[in-house]
């Protein structure tokens, strides 16, 4: 018994500018599928980061705002406070969210803002050409850590999901990945769960997605998927870090 498959309605026809094998595309699709299934396209406001996903708004078919680098959570807060009925998500990379945007994400999560964050952790700054991110793995070479990330000099990679989960305010915090079909199915469930919590006005929801950046890792898409699995997953453990009771 075969299955059918088609582009979700929340996704536009525009081909993405992402590199071959970049999993940004997979994550976009999952979000769109969840929105279709929940039938909430008309309530949606997405917030694009500054990063490779800056043009994300070209690939979705609902309202979108473009944030400044790192500030998407503050914009989402602005929207939800004045329009709690809208469904809002921020889509942020690890430079955007974990470096320049650390203050905004922690405070939005701690205030329990009722929006959803999709956090794309690809261990590097993609758009600007592969500089080191707070999530860059120990000894990983980047254009600003040519000898590899020296943890004695710049510390360990930040486990954002765990960090945010350690706050006292109730929230849904989970880490997923999209490097293999089986993970993709789980990741979609998590995104659905996050949107459901938001729709119910229950709590802040945060889905970290371990992703790939073949281009800046200097790997083929297949090598990149392998590297993510063997190097990132053992450090960035998958699963729910916190669920509201």
């Amino acid at each position: 018994m075969g299955k059918t498959f088609q582009k979700p309605q929340a996704l536009s026809d525009t081909p993405t500018h992402y590199c071959p094998g970049c999993t940004h595309g997979v994550i976009h699709r999952l979000i769109a599928e969840v929105i279709d299934e929940m039938g909430i396209r008309g309530k949606m406001v997405g917030i694009a980061p500054v990063g490779c996903a800056v043009l994300a708004y070209n690939y979705f078919t609902f309202d979108f705002q473009e944030a400044a680098h790192g500030r998407a959570p503050a914009m989402a807060t602005g929207i939800k406070r004045v329009r709690p009925d809208l469904m809002v998500f921020t889509y942020q990379g690890d430079g955007d969210l974990a470096s320049i945007g650390m203050g905004e994400i922690i405070h939005a999560a701690n205030r329990g803002e009722k929006f959803t964050t999709i956090f794309v952790n690809n261990a590097v700054y993609g758009m600007t050409g592969g500089q080191m991110a707070p999530t860059t793995m120990p000894n990983q070479r980047t254009t600003t850590s040519p000898m590899g990330r020296n943890v004695a000099e710049v510390g360990m990679p930040i486990k954002v999901a765990e960090l945010i989960a350690s706050l006292q305010t109730p929230a849904y915090i989970t880490r997923q990945t999209v490097i293999k079909p089986k993970y993709i199915v789980k990741a979609k469930k998590a995104i659905r769960q996050a949107f459901e919590y938001q729709l119910a006005g229950k709590c802040y929801s945060f889905v970290e997605v371990v992703s790939t950046c073949p281009t800046n890792w200097g790997l083929t898409p297949l090598e990149a998927v392998k590297w993510a699995e063997t190097t990132m997953l053992p450090y960035y453990e998958l699963g729910d870090k916190k669920v509201p009771d």
Binding site: H17, Y18, C19, P20, C52, V54, G126, M127, G129, T215
Partner: protein, 179 residues
């Protein structure tokens, strides 16, 4: 005198490097030179291009809309830039990927199977050197010997690449002569 050369192709075809090598040679020869890339956010598969200006007097505007010459590594870039090349310039076409011509009668068009030649020379990745060599030989705007040395210098760090690229260079020059 002032020469402007536009190098264009897919990202990843080594456009920026061949342009840089030409500029470097120009500088070594005592000319004023400028190298102006097209830069943008990471977008693979787009057309990358780069202009090199070589002149015997200080270079005013480094931004060139109508280059004197064009090195077109793929079809989109030939279609995009061939029309703006100044009359009398050289247009080098990478025959391996481009089936058409520039249909310009007022330019010196030369088509070279850059990829195949590079393959034979030892690696498809030296296609940009083949094209550079062929263009340099045909246009004669820099001394080939100096250019050859600049290429050697460029690969100093990776010595095992030098023979391949030297071969690619010589084949490129040959191709320009015969075609």
């Amino acid at each position: 005198m002032q020469h402007e050369v536009m190098f264009a192709g897919f990202g990843g075809q080594g456009i920026l490097l061949s342009a840089k090598l030409l500029a470097h040679a120009g500088m070594e020869q005592g000319y004023e030179v400028g190298w102006v890339p097209s830069y943008g956010p990471e977008m693979r598969g787009g057309t990358a291009y780069c202009t090199v200006v070589i002149a015997d007097r200080p270079i005013g505007s480094p931004i060139i809309r109508n280059p004197k010459h064009l090195v077109a590594m793929n079809r989109p870039s030939l279609e995009k830039f061939a029309p703006v090349v100044k009359p009398g310039g050289v247009i080098l076409i990478n025959k391996s990927l481009i089936s058409i011509g520039s249909n310009r009668s007022d330019v010196d068009e030369i088509a070279v199977s850059v990829n195949e030649i590079a393959q034979e020379a030892g690696s498809i990745r030296s296609a940009n050197i083949v094209a550079l060599a062929a263009f340099a030989a045909r246009s004669g705007i820099v001394d080939l010997e100096i250019l050859r040395r600049c290429i050697q210098e460029e690969f100093e760090a990776k010595p095992k690449l030098i023979p391949i690229n030297m071969k690619a260079f010589d084949e490129g020059v040959k191709a320009a002569r015969i075609s």
